[in-house]
């Protein structure tokens, strides 16, 4: 953990050397999801609701997913750009150091410019929460927190899986974008608006449903039955990262250097 913080600090300092570029990129990251959100707003202005969900409920969902996405892009960037480590043969150096590969790859890169995106979704989150008639309790606040954390873990898990594929393919795989970018686009609406098979896939295989749908029902007070179960779903969802971690370990053992 100590080492991780050191990595964080060094990379932060190095990115801050290019201050103007840093701010410009951050502003850019602010506006890209902004236009998507504007689109969402205009659609609700025309249609009023989507399968019984109103604008602020969907905005809350949007904010949670985008926050999770931006955090995971900031902190798990090392796995996202992992293919360059393999192609250049730099992974050999990682292997000879007496620390876990997971930690080193995670610490190899951070994208602090994602703060723009994070800020944008935080504003949406506050706006949505202010306009929703929610009776707050400690449990609900904790659930909201778990939703975001669990989202970060799921996105990180997908990055790890994609990175593990690089051990065999060397090249980075664009297909993984379906689950990161595509997953983000999809999960910004509550899952039950989609067809059954899509909803099932994204609940049981890649558990976005445990982040954006089931706990959302609990926060908005739409649940029937055992509330504790709904509250705990984000925690169940974050278990997704465990098999990803095992696959990663398996991949590392099968690594063959490109030798360049």
């Amino acid at each position: 953990m100590n080492l991780y913080l050191k990595y964080l600090l060094i990379l932060f300092k190095s990115q801050m050397q290019y201050r103007t570029s840093f701010w410009l990129l951050s502003i850019g990251q602010f506006f890209i999801p902004f236009s998507v959100f504007a689109g969402l707003y205009f659609l609700f202005e025309r249609f009023g609701q989507i399968k019984g969900w109103d604008f602020f409920e969907v905005a809350l969902c949007f904010a949670v997913i985008h926050m999770a996405f931006s955090l995971s892009e900031c902190f798990a960037r090392g796995f996202d750009t992992f293919s360059s480590l393999i192609v250049k043969g730099d992974f050999d150096r990682v292997l000879v150091r007496p620390r876990s590969t997971f930690l080193q790859v995670l610490g190899s890169k951070f994208e602090f410019t994602r703060i723009g995106r994070l800020l944008q979704s935080a504003i949406v989150l506050i706006w949505a929460l202010n306009n929703l008639p929610i009776e707050w309790s400690f449990m609900k606040a904790a659930t909201l927190f778990f939703m975001i954390t669990s989202g970060v873990l799921i996105f990180t898990g997908i990055y790890m899986l994609a990175a593990t594929m690089c051990f065999w393919t060397v090249q980075g795989l664009e297909v993984a974008n379906i689950f990161t970018d595509g997953g983000r686009e999809m999960a910004q609406y509550p899952l039950n608006i989609y067809q059954k098979w899509v909803a099932r896939f994204f609940t049981y295989i890649i558990p976005f449903g445990t982040v954006n749908y089931l706990p959302l029902l609990f926060i908005l007070g739409k649940t029937t039955g055992n509330q504790l179960l709904y509250m705990l779903t984000p925690i169940a969802g974050s278990l997704f990262i465990l098999p990803c971690f095992l696959v990663w370990q398996f991949g590392v053992r099968h690594y063959r250097s490109t030798g360049s």
């Binding site: 850019g28 236009s35 689109g39 025309r46 399968k51 664009e174 379906i178 970018d181 989609y194 067809q195």
Partner: protein
């Protein structure tokens, strides 16, 4: 003219090499298409008033968008050109006995064409055979289809002309990020990529109709589905031509003026 044609041909062949990358792109676009269709389907299901574009027309619109993504995306860019400008290697380009605008235009056009040619067939073919309501439908008649092809190609030429401004602006700013951002976000929004233009509020539609971006993507797709009637489409072709000539002329003037001031610092 012959030079530009051969540049186009060479670049086209290079672009066609990246088949597996294109395949991955196709998979992503399918997923994307499905998700957006399902979202709109859900919106339409409980719509209180009849929306200005039917769901069937919208689905065709989305599949066309996915198939011809390379024709309409402004952020689809050539980093090589940015590097040329910022690193000073532009001097080599200036030594060539061709007009720089035409040379780059042909290069960019070829990139988009090759990328779209690789991707559009699998997407279009599968989209036609999808189960209802997700399938794409044929245009109402042959004339509409011919009009669609004309408007799509003019739209492509227009888009490349717009994207040339991106590269020209880098001569002034030296960093592509700012202009990419403005062109990317605004251009895509007003081309109807985030939400289709007929679904925007009226005041926003008025802005979109004035800007050139919607003529590149929104217009040809709506001609295809018959949402824009033929007589309007023919008028639209002339507006496209007008924009195209205007932007080409403006781009050439702008490029020549920045080139006159360009300073290459050794290295």
């Amino acid at each position: 003219m012959k030079v530009y044609a051969s540049v186009l041909k060479i670049r086209l062949l290079i672009g066609m090499q990246y088949r597996s990358a294109a395949l991955a792109g196709v998979a992503t676009q399918f997923f994307w298409g499905f998700i957006s269709i399902m979202v709109f389907e859900a919106f339409y299901q409980f719509a209180a008033v009849t929306p200005p574009i039917s769901l069937k027309e919208l689905i065709t619109y989305i599949w066309l968008q996915q198939a011809f993504l390379a024709f309409i995306m402004l952020w689809f860019r050539d980093n090589e050109l940015f590097d040329l400008i910022t690193s000073g290697n532009i001097s080599y380009e200036l030594c060539r006995p061709t007009d720089l605008y035409g040379f780059w235009y042909a290069k960019l056009l070829a990139q988009r064409l090759s990328s779209a040619l690789l991707r559009c067939y699998p997407i279009l073919i599968v989209a036609f055979f999808l189960p209802k309501p997700y399938n794409m439908t044929l245009p109402p008649n042959v004339i509409t289809f011919i009009l669609f092809v004309i408007t799509l190609l003019l739209g492509l030429l227009l888009l490349v002309a717009i994207s040339m401004f991106l590269y020209i602006s880098v001569f002034v700013t030296l960093s592509p990020m700012g202009s990419l951002l403005i062109f990317g976000v605004l251009g895509e929004f007003f081309a109807g990529l985030i939400i289709p233009i007929p679904l925007m509020p009226l005041w926003l539609q008025k802005i979109a109709y004035v800007l050139p971006f919607r003529w590149t993507a929104d217009f040809p797709f709506r001609v295809y589905s018959g949402h824009i009637v033929q007589s309007d489409a023919i008028i639209g072709v002339f507006i496209q031509l007008g924009y195209l000539l205007g932007l080409l002329w403006l781009g050439k003037v702008a490029l020549n003026s920045v080139l006159r001031r360009v300073v290459v610092q050794g290295g």
